[in-house]
């Protein structure tokens, strides 16, 4: 098991909060560029957008890191990374890196970190990202903060202040890794805004070797079975979402949610309790441990607005909340609030939207 050189700690009983001189030399904000079968996951671009702000504040370079097989379009990915703000992209190309596996990717990223010493490493909180981040952080014996909703630089310490929900989402907390480097963080897709691509931007690349052979790797990737595309619920990228919560009282009432979504051409979302109760598929869960969404219109029916759900949808342009409880937390951050029974309000809204939009469509036609 490879061990990174651990941070030099002062001898003593106290908790180490001081950054050693050696670790102070770590520079650079890195974003792990995740890709699968020819496409980069958009969370990597979202992280470059966020990373650019952090890098500018620190006066450090923003770099992408991409690992893959020799037949994969890694240079094209690098060029795309430049348009989203990266200054430099580290590339590792090896047949062993064709398709994600924990062992080679962990070694690759860890070796790059040890060689080039970035101060911050960001990954998307996807199945690949979380698998990799935990392994890399443990190998490097450094701090990792998961599912961050906000990233900032603390002006006093130049450290990364990573904010995330805690206690199942009831509160927020800001976490810092003061005495260890690199500071690692994962961010869920859609939490950060997608940056605009600047096609004129260029950057530099460099290549490093992995140094592993296939026979030395224990886990074998036998196959990849793609999901059937039809009927894919595409919540994170939907423009209109109508969501239901436990206030709907029983799963049958979700029909009213689906009706309104259909009239608006939108997707149907739900809260964690509804998913846990088996009322709708898990893919529809909006929230900290479900999907983060940024639609133009989000209608929440029978949802109390616990922070766990809030962090998954508060970036929506227009939030309409329907709840019988006038004190429900959701009214604290909705744009429009209707105090009433969702089972009555939803059909009324469906009818109103349908009539109004039909009229406008006729005008256009």
């Amino acid at each position: 098991m490879s061990e990174a050189k651990p941070a030099l700690k002062p001898a003593g009983r106290g908790r180490n909060l001081e950054l050693s001189e050696e670790l102070k030399a770590y520079k650079g904000v890195w974003v792990f560029i995740e890709h699968e079968r020819g496409h980069v996951h958009s969370v990597s671009w979202e992280l470059l957008g966020e990373g650019r702000k952090l890098a500018d504040q620190l006066g450090s370079p923003l770099c992408g890191v991409v690992l893959g097989g020799p037949d994969e379009p890694l240079d094209a990915f690098a060029r795309e990374a430049f348009t989203f703000g990266a200054d430099h992209v580290y590339i590792m190309r090896d047949p062993v890196l064709n398709g994600y596996r924990n062992e080679p990717f962990t070694k690759g990223l860890t070796d790059l970190v040890n060689k080039y010493k970035p101060e911050i490493v960001l990954l998307g909180a996807t199945s690949q990202g979380r698998d990799l981040a935990g392994s890399v952080a443990t190998t490097l014996l450094t701090g990792l903060t998961a599912d961050c909703t906000e990233l900032a630089i603390d002006p006093n310490t130049r450290a990364l202040a990573a904010t995330r929900p805690t206690f199942g989402g009831s509160l927020l907390c800001t976490i810092m890794t003061l005495a260890y480097r690199p500071q690692m963080a994962t961010v869920r897709p859609r939490v950060m805004a997608m940056p605009r691509a600047d096609e004129t931007r260029v950057g530099t690349t460099s290549e490093d070797t992995l140094g592993l052979i296939e026979t030395g790797i224990v886990t074998k990737l036998l196959d990849f079975i793609a999901d059937a595309n039809s009927n894919r619920i595409n919540l994170p990228y939907a423009d209109v979402i109508v969501s239901g919560g436990k206030g709907l009282k029983n799963p049958d009432n979700f029909k009213l949610v689906f009706d309104l979504a259909r009239v608006l051409g939108g997707e149907v979302g739900a809260t964690r309790p509804c998913v846990q109760a088996g009322w709708v598929e898990a893919d529809r869960q909006v929230g900290q441990t479900g999907k983060t969404v940024r639609p133009k219109l989000y209608i929440a029916a029978g949802i109390s607005g616990a922070i766990q759900h809030r962090v998954g949808m508060e970036a929506s342009d227009v939030i309409v909340a329907i709840n019988t409880d006038p004190n429900a937390p959701i009214f604290d951050f909705a744009h429009y609030g209707i105090v009433g029974n969702a089972m009555q309000v939803l059909p009324a809204l469906t009818q109103a939207f349908q009539a109004h939009l039909a009229q406008r469509v006729r005008k256009v036609a």
Binding site: R15, E34, E36, R37, H41, R101, S127, Q128, D131, A133, G134, S135, A137, T138, L141, T142, G143, L144, T145, D147, A161, T166, G168, S170, L171, L172, C173, I175, T177, Y180, V218, T219, K220, L221, L222, I225, D227, D239, V240, G265, A282, T289, K296, L297, Q308, D317, V320, D332, F333, Y336, G337, I338, V339, G340, V345, A348, A352, F353, V361, V364
Partner: protein
């Protein structure tokens, strides 16, 4: 076959509330439960035990009351339960937690060789999903996260084949034992405990290990001291500066409310109206 399943006792986050005055978590009256994600991993381990025979040991690092969670696992069919509990572990982040659990698993392995380790995908109070990968790294175990299905286990060859959920599809991976697996949620359903199992669990002894029993070699690596991440601030969410435009069903008719709402929204967001129209025209 000897499988170790790591579990955590967590407050039922669905029932957590924040004290309106002190802004702290009100733990009173909030039941502590076995982290729900852990149960999917435990059930998978029990199924392997059903198939191949052997033993399932559940392991938990936590305060003394976490004993309850371990008993629950025994009632489902785990054979042995170990609670690693010591003040020195308090305040541990995921790096320090994986160090402690890895040490304990090594100790368990010295009593009886461990073939597989299961952990939950993530906890509902931390939601980091980091401890499983951390343990695997420290013990040199092959890591398989987000497993949606165990396809085949071959004890003779010492291999296991699984389906692992990735973005847009499922990876089929084969690796060698010993390995560490985290199961995806809803991949199985936990069995019900019979009454004799419930009584057995209530009566059985849960082994308690302090940091020495757990084989901790370096105390600077556990608890608060061994945690690189520092919580600098905990706070409640800030309410939006501008309050919501409120309507009550009591005061106006449903029809009026709907029309008012549409009018409000579309006046303030004309592009939204256009987008919806475009969508429907398409």
């Amino acid at each position: 076959m000897h499988i170790v399943v790591c579990i955590k006792q967590v407050p039922d986050s669905a029932q957590i509330r924040v004290h309106p005055v002190t802004n702290t978590i009100m733990r009173q009256g909030v039941p502590a439960i076995v982290n729900p994600y852990d149960l999917f991993s435990l059930e998978e381990a029990l199924r392997l035990k059903d198939q191949f025979g052997g033993k399932v040991t559940v392991l938990c690092m936590g305060p003394p009351q976490a004993e309850e969670a371990l008993r629950k696992c025994i009632s489902f069919g785990a054979d042995d339960a170990i609670l690693v509990t010591d003040r020195a572990f308090a305040g541990a982040d995921t790096l320090a937690t994986s160090y402690a659990l890895a040490s304990a698993i090594r100790k368990i392995g010295s009593e009886q060789k461990v073939d597989m380790v299961f952990t939950g995908k993530q906890t509902i109070d931390g939601d980091t999903a980091q401890v499983g990968p951390g343990i695997a790294k420290r013990l040199g175990l092959q890591l398989l996260t987000y497993v949606s299905r165990i396809v085949e286990t071959d004890l003779e060859k010492g291999t296991i084949t699984v389906e692992r959920r990735g973005e847009g599809g499922v990876q089929v991976l084969r690796t060698a034992l010993p390995c560490l697996i985290t199961m995806l949620e809803n991949t199985n359903e936990m069995r019900f405990a019979s009454l004799p199992m419930m009584i057995h669990a209530a009566a059985c002894q849960v082994r308690k290990w302090n940091k020495d029993d757990a084989g901790i070699e370096d105390v600077t690596k556990i608890g608060l001291k061994g945690s690189p991440t520092v919580v600098s601030r905990v706070f409640g969410p800030t309410p939006r500066a501008q309050k919501a435009e409120m309507m009550t069903v009591e005061s106006s008719s449903l029809r009026d409310i709907s029309l008012n709402l549409l009018q409000s929204i579309f006046t303030v967001h004309p592009t939204l109206e256009q987008d919806l129209v475009d969508k429907l025209s398409a």
